[in-house]
């Protein structure tokens, strides 16, 4: 035990100085989902399958627009899996905390190349 302790005197600490040093997530990490509205056909599958009612759908069919409630999202990736046209992708974003629930609703609109409201982080 003593030897183990002394060995660590010369080692670099295992912890990271978090806000300054970040560990990149692995490939395939399930982070914040985004909708590609150019592909979306409005089939409602993602809206129906979501276990935590995080996806809100406004309008129907090809006019449908989405509100993603980040505060309710489980990041399970079921919507990505269920989407028949692969319009949903899970990004590698993981720093999604916010002081305000209202700021955690992300809208995905049809026109203007799927304008996406930036999320206020920190």
């Amino acid at each position: 035990m003593v030897r183990e302790l002394l060995k660590h005197l010369l080692k670099r600490p295992a912890t990271l100085k978090y806000p300054f040093e970040k560990k990149p997530p692995f490939k395939g990490f399930r982070g914040r989902p985004i909708w590609d509205m150019k592909l979306c056909t409005g089939c409602e599958l993602c809206y129906k399958v979501c276990p935590s009612e995080a996806i809100e759908m406004i309008g129907k069919g090809l006019e449908a627009e989405f509100k993603h409630h980040l505060d309710r999202c489980l990041f399970c990736g079921q919507c990505e899996e269920v989407c028949p046209v692969n319009a949903i992708t899970m990004t590698e974003e993981y720093e999604l905390a916010s002081y305000d629930r209202a700021g955690m609703i992300i809208e995905f609109k049809r026109e203007e190349k799927a304008s996406e409201k930036p999320i206020p982080i920190r």
Binding site: M1, L5, F26, R30, V49, L74, C76
Partner: protein
Amino acid sequence: MSYPTIRIPFGPQHPFHIEPEYFMFEVDGERVVGVKPRIGYVHRGIEKALEDRTFIQNLYLIERICGICSHAHTTCYTQAIEEILGAEIPPRARFIRTIIAELERIHNHYLWLGLAAHEIGFDTLFMYSWRDREIVMDLLELVSGNRVHYAMNTIGGVRRDITPEIVEKIRKGLDALEERMRYYKKIAMTEPTISKRTAGIGILKPKDAIALCAVGPTLRASGIKRDVRADDPYIAYDEIPFNVITYDGCDVISRLFVRCDEVFESVNIIRYAMHHLPEGKIRIKVPKRVPEGEAVSRVEAPRGELIHYAKTNGTTKPERYKARSPTLGNIPSLCKMLVGGYIADIPIVIAGIDPCFSCTDRMAFVNVNNNKQWILSGEELRRYAIKWYRKE
């Protein structure tokens, strides 16, 4: 002559355990003479909620019964539903489930070792084992895409495949994990302060263990060879050779050794499974509606036997779903272990069964979100506090 006893509350908030649980101890000096547990503080009403959601949605709710044994819970759930459906999942999916299950066991035992070390005040060992736990968490993230809620299981198979590169990385990680656990076992055997605090503490005789229906490593540390993986093989355990670890010390250090040795077994199981990983599909398509039926499904979660009972009625939602986690099964024996011990030994004895109270409390349902009177916002809380202080 009898002395007056004092009552010492442990919990609902107490630094010995992160989860809110309440034990009222009757104490005579430093000796515990009585104990009364009260669970239910993290009661989220999952069983009622399950009846209100579709089978796919339930998959993710079930996963959230517990943060550590999330894979065990979903394995149990998918097994039950697949049994009712009569679906046979592909062999590759079974092996992948096994690999994740064993990685989860390694993760849980590392976590437990750190917690146990912390309970007896050995902070250095706590830091080391949690640092090394990071290796297995990284592996799980690599395989599944998340550190805690792996979401690997789905009804009819698994959602992600394990590629050869991942296999290589897991192999490397396993070597490191095995070596570190060997070292920790050596420390536990040689370090006198550890054996002083854990040997002969929290005795659970085999007779009591059976009568009080103990499960998992707690039971195996009392010398009873009972493991769902061997007795009632599920997923790929009937094709993989492994040993059931038992120790007959009946005390906390035996539970420690059981968990250490189980890590070695798990490492071997994963190596075998990765070597014999069959080719083929990883999932099959299953219908949304589940026919009427019922099934009992059992899984050896890292903490012990997990049993789920499912009853379906031919719709897309279950009629009744019951989950019983290992901790609930171990609480009666825990009370038995605690009586007669010292106050100082309470934390390590409670930690000895590896309790997970989130798993334990999960039943009826009050939707707190829609029920404004049940929650206080930050502003309300502040006002409440000011009012309270004015009164003083």
